[in-house]
Symmetry: C2
Subunit: 142 residues, 2 copies
DNA sequence: CTGGATATTTCATGTTGTCAAGTAAGTGGG
DNA sequence: CCCACTTACTTGACAACATGAAATATCCAG
């Protein structure tokens, strides 16, 4: 009943698992530093790119729209997000980051050390190689 | 207000974010296929390596021990896990996968396609390179 | 204009997570 | 031995997140 995957692939998968775990850990930690939950931080990050319909937030988060209602409610009650009506379609509500929300999002991004620390170990050539390998792995063929 | 991180690092970070998202998506999906939540699947995976004290499960999951109680309760009520007393220390309870739990864990691991599909794109040399880069990134110096 | 699709919300319910308090059992100094 | 202290786990209260079903409002095609 031994695995039919070769040991090398298995090791890479395990390493990716470690990366995933560490990434999440740091993300939650950074969010908590700003009194945000992970989900709230993700939504705020999305909205920093511009006002977004509730439906689209749900799609990006891969969850039900009814769930987004609560998350945006909590962000709104703290003045980080506001709901606007879409003039083009009065059914949709656009969630938009307020000034305070944008600031928080900016500071949040700044405290995401996952970018700097681990990658600082690698030379520019190595980062290029890593980029290309990840691209191919993800099926991105530029 | 442009980022002070170079574009290459930024792209790698974004790629890692994509990997993390896809990994999670597939993991939850695989768990759901076996009527498990993500947390339940993680605990069951842990226990497939052997009986484990509640405390240690909490450490691995990076959560409070009181949280583990509920997760193990739910797994136990479905016959996938059982609690045993540790003869060496009567304070500790060992959570252990039952036969059914081991089977479920095995099938779960088998349906984690993240291993095969994306990495199949890479040659053995590329996988070796990826492994070494990830190792260095994670600070694992063998 | 009407019927069906779409966007959002509300409600009921379940899981995950925290924290504080409680119980049971190991441990060490007097 | 005994007492205080720590450790392991559970319980209870509560918040956030997640789903699904039903309600409301709006859009759109025929």
């Amino acid at each position: 009943m031994a695995s039919r995957i070769d040991p090398l692939t298995l090791e890479v998968v395990e390493l990716i698992g470690t990366v995933v775990a560490r990434y999440h850990e740091e993300y939650e930690e950074a969010a908590a530093k700003h009194a945000l939950t992970g989900a709230q931080a993700r939504v705020l990050g999305l909205l920093s790119r511009g006002p977004t319909p509730m439906r689209r937030i749900a799609q990006q988060l891969k969850c039900e729209p009814s769930n987004v209602t609560g998350i945006v409610d909590r962000l709104e009650s703290r003045g980080l997000v506001e709901r606007r009506l879409d003039p083009a379609d009065r059914r949709v509500k656009l969630a938009a980051a307020t000034e305070a929300g944008k600031e928080t999002s900016e500071r949040l991004r700044g405290s995401l050390d996952f970018a700097r620390e681990p990658l600082a170990e690698l030379s520019a050539d190595e980062r290029t190689a890593l980029r290309d390998l990840l691209r191919r792995m993800l099926g991105i063929e530029p």
